[in-house]
């Protein structure tokens, strides 16, 4: 009953998410009309104070329209309404629809009343609701939360076996009018029961005695670690209750919307006895090693066609419900014909450790040709549902083991034989006759030298290219860059004042990027050249045109000094 109600609640949630699909399905509505129709009646609270009203709702599942039923007269109660509310939802392609008729019921006196069964006609069929009893008291009704909220446990049985993993859910029933918004904590005592629970609380609804409840489910499992009469509980579930409080401040916003406050309220449950039974001695297999639950075996082997000495990987998968940690590696019988190594194991399980899977990989190396089948795999366990021991066995897998090279069975064990003829895949390759390469180290200095050389060379070449390109494209730069070198050459060859003067003119012409012949003592003065230039020009002119004596060596030295001075000034 509760599970059905929870499913309906999920349907409602799904309907919100899939509202876009409702239009499409609405076209198919006539096909689904009147399929699995049910009619129920509920009240929001069965006990009210005189002067208050309660809500009485008739819900028709499986239909989207219904005529208003005739409400019989009840002495002392006044019915107003109905307000009609329809809904439709689709889950996994299955459509469900309902219509609710809500009446406001106001008592005219105190006492106990019964809202009788109400007949609802849908087409040719008539459906009846269950009668509902309500109590109208003087003044305020009993609003003790303990009467509105109850904590219960849900378990398949209160008798479990040692090592068994059994579900044990804690259910919190809260009447629909209790504004329970969530939970802030869950404290419990479960000594010896190995209790684990899922902190994600599930929710649903439940109707009992015409009263609607919200149900909150804490899913958990117990896995007892000792026998005897143990207790689950007491438990305390801290609920979060929302209460709306009107603000008395002058804030218009708060006065209009009010303010919701959340308070924590503990709900308690008394201890519930759980009897943990020891595993029965009767019928216990000799190879039983403590596995409890429902387990199945799946065995595979690869490859199935091998030579002697080749490894075969046997993969054993144990899966099922129960505590996988208690499940040992299955027994292998008939291992004499194989060389074995330690198996590798991989275990996966769910969060509550109530179900799991263990994969064991065992390497088997056949010792001789003629081996036809792999070892038997068996796992004995106790099934707590059937209350008996069971053995899961897998029929032995067939293999084809061929002899090694030369048609002879190879010896797998390490020592004792020299085999001058060895083959890949059957045995190791024989020893080498030469030592082979030794460990060489690349000297770090050589490594960095080899790396740096091309980089430096490329950068140098790029710089050189840039200079050449500039010399070709920039005449002023080209003349200036070779001015001093050319002038010095001319100076070396000069033997009289005229040649010295030409050398100086050539230098200054190249340097200033003007024709050399146009440079005179006056131009030198205009261009701001050192005074020595003017003096050299005047001395040369005097010697050439006035026949004055001149010391050519001294003039050369002065020109050199001028060149040096101007070149240094550039730097």
């Amino acid at each position: 009953m509760m599970r059905t109600t929870m499913n309906q609640a999920r349907c409602s949630c799904a309907s919100v998410k899939r509202s876009g699909g409702i239009l499409l399905v609405a076209l198919l509505f006539p096909l689904a009309a009147f399929a699995q129709v049910s009619v129920t009646a509920t009240v929001d609270r069965p006990r009210i104070g005189f002067g208050e009203s309660l809500s009485f709702t008739i819900t028709v599942q499986g239909s989207q329209s219904t005529p208003s039923p005739a409400i019989p007269k009840v002495d002392g109660l006044v019915f107003a309404g109905p307000a009609v509310n329809t809904s439709m939802s689709i889950v996994n392609g299955v459509m469900s629809q309902s219509v609710g008729l809500a009446y406001q019921v106001t008592p005219t006196r105190t006492g106990e009343f019964v809202i009788p069964a109400i007949e609802v006609k849908l087409g040719d069929n008539a459906y009846r609701t269950e009668p509902i009893k309500i109590v109208v008291e003087k003044g305020a009704p009993q609003t003790d939360l303990s009467q509105k909220v109850a904590v219960r446990i849900q378990t398949a049985s209160q008798q479990v076996y040692l090592g068994q993993t059994a579900s044990l859910n804690v259910l919190v029933f809260a009447r629909a009018d209790v504004p329970l918004k969530g939970f802030a904590g869950f404290n419990h005592e479960a000594d010896g029961l190995g209790y684990k629970y899922d902190p994600n609380v599930k929710s649903g609804t439940h109707v009992e005695g015409g009263v609607s409840y919200n149900v909150f489910i804490i899913e958990g499992v117990i896995s007892p670690t000792r026998t005897g009469k143990l207790n689950f509980g007491p438990c305390v579930v801290k609920g979060q209750l929302a209460a709306e409080r009107r603000s008395r401040s002058g804030d218009l916003f708060e006065r209009f919307f009010g303010r919701v406050e959340v308070s924590e309220v503990p709900f308690t449950m008394d201890a519930v006895p759980i009897e943990v039974l020891p595993l029965p001695g009767e019928g216990r297999p000799a190879d039983f090693s403590g596995a409890v639950g429902e387990w199945k075996l799946d065995v595979t082997a690869k490859p199935g066609d091998v030579n002697v000495g080749d490894p075969i990987t046997l993969t054993i998968k144990v899966s099922g419900n129960g505590n996988i940690d208690l499940v040992p590696a299955p027994k292998l019988t008939g291992l004499d014909e194989f060389k074995t190594y330690d198996p590798t194991t991989k275990t996966t399980k769910n969060e509550l450790n109530s179900a799991g899977e263990r994969v064991i990989q065992q390497v088997l190396v056949p010792k001789s040709a003629g081996v036809k089948r792999l070892p038997d795999v068996r796992l004995s366990y106790f099934d707590p549902v059937a209350k008996q021991y069971k053995t899961a066995a897998h029929p032995p897998l067939q293999v084809n083991v061929k002899p090694g090279a030369g048609g002879q069975a190879a010896i797998v064990s390490g020592g004792g034989r020299v085999r001058p003829e060895e083959k890949l895949g059957h045995d190791i390759v024989y020893v080498k006759g030469a030592p082979g390469p030794i460990a060489l180290v690349f000297p770090p200095v050589a490594f960095w030298l080899f790396n740096a050389t091309p980089v430096v060379a490329l950068l140098g070449a790029l710089a050189w290219k840039r200079r050449v390109d500039r010399l070709r494209g920039d005449i002023a730069y080209a003349r200036r860059s070779r001015a001093a070198r050319n002038a010095r050459k001319q100076l070396v060859a000069a033997s009289d004042c005229q040649q010295v003067q030409h050398a100086l003119q050539a230098y200054l012409g190249d340097r200033l990027n003007i024709p050399a012949s146009g440079i005179t003592a006056s131009v030198a003065g205009e261009r701001g050249l050192p005074g020595a230039v003017r003096e050299i020009f005047e001395a040369c002119d005097a010697a050439r045109f006035a026949g004055a004596s001149a010391d050519v060596a001294s003039l050369k030295q002065q020109v050199e000094q001028v060149i040096d001075e101007l070149e240094n000034a550039d730097r």
Partner: protein, 238 residues
């Protein structure tokens, strides 16, 4: 030891090595595997052939962990030697550690195998040669503009190889030292203490990377990324 001393020592040691190597091989041929193993152990300098034959000697004594250790050492010196690869794989198959020693991710597995396929010196030469070629191609682009397109394609192609070689070189130099598990079964624990929680088991022949050394305990990482502390006596460095 500087470079010159090393060369001189090698010139003296190599003839001696070749002579002793033959002696050890004779012991192996005679089926005296324990003595052959001792003889191979004494040989210096160790070459790929010495490690390979030593691995065979241990294999014949059914000490597969030691055999794998020496095959791995031989592979470091001659990474593409088919005999070494065959015996290493064969021994790993015997112990069921072929998969455990490989990273589970396909890309990481491919890269690890690619890096292993060359020695450190070979990666160094590849890096140097491709750098020279790439820079020559760049120079060609600049000074021979007629064939610029061809030089650009060549430069990009060679640069890709250079980047690969450089990353492989860095990976090889910076990766932690590796070790092989020698005992049939050892346990990796959560702390360097004998009673610490067992995190996972290490089987004989498994390859681990040594992340930290604390004397008696080593913090190791398996190829699948699992990490734990293992007793030093259970492993030997490659």
């Amino acid at each position: 030891m500087n470079w010159k001393t090393l060369i001189v020592n090698l010139l003296i040691a190599l003839p001696v090595l070749a002579n002793d190597f033959k002696t050890a091989n004779a012991l192996y041929d005679a089926g005296r595997f324990a003595e052959a193993a001792s003889a191979y152990e004494r040989l210096t300098p160790k070459s790929a052939g010495v490690y390979f034959n030593l691995g065979n000697a241990w294999f014949r004594q059914d000490k597969l962990g030691l055999a794998i250790l020496n095959y791995e050492r031989a592979q470091r010196l001659a990474p593409r030697d088919p005999d070494i690869l065959a015996n290493l794989k064969f021994a790993q198959q015997r112990l069921g550690v072929v998969e455990i020693n490989q990273p589970p991710q396909p890309l990481r597995r491919f890269w690890a195998n690619a890096v292993r396929s060359r020695t450190l010196v070979e990666w160094s030469w590849i890096e140097i040669v491709t750098l020279w070629l790439a820079l020559l191609a760049v120079a060609g682009c600049i000074w021979l503009p007629k064939w610029r397109t061809g030089f650009i394609i060549a430069a990009v192609a060679v640069a890709c190889v250079w980047v690969t070689a450089t990353v492989a070189l860095i990976d090889r130099v910076s990766s932690p030292p590796e070790a092989i598990v020698l005992v049939a079964k050892s346990e990796a624990r959560s702390a360097p203490l004998p009673l610490a929680t067992v995190l996972f088991n290490l089987t004989e022949g498994a390859r681990v990377a040594i992340r930290e050394d604390r004397g008696e305990w080593l913090f190791v990482e398996r190829a699948d990324g699992k990490q734990g502390w293992v007793n030093r006596a259970a492993v030997a460095g490659v």
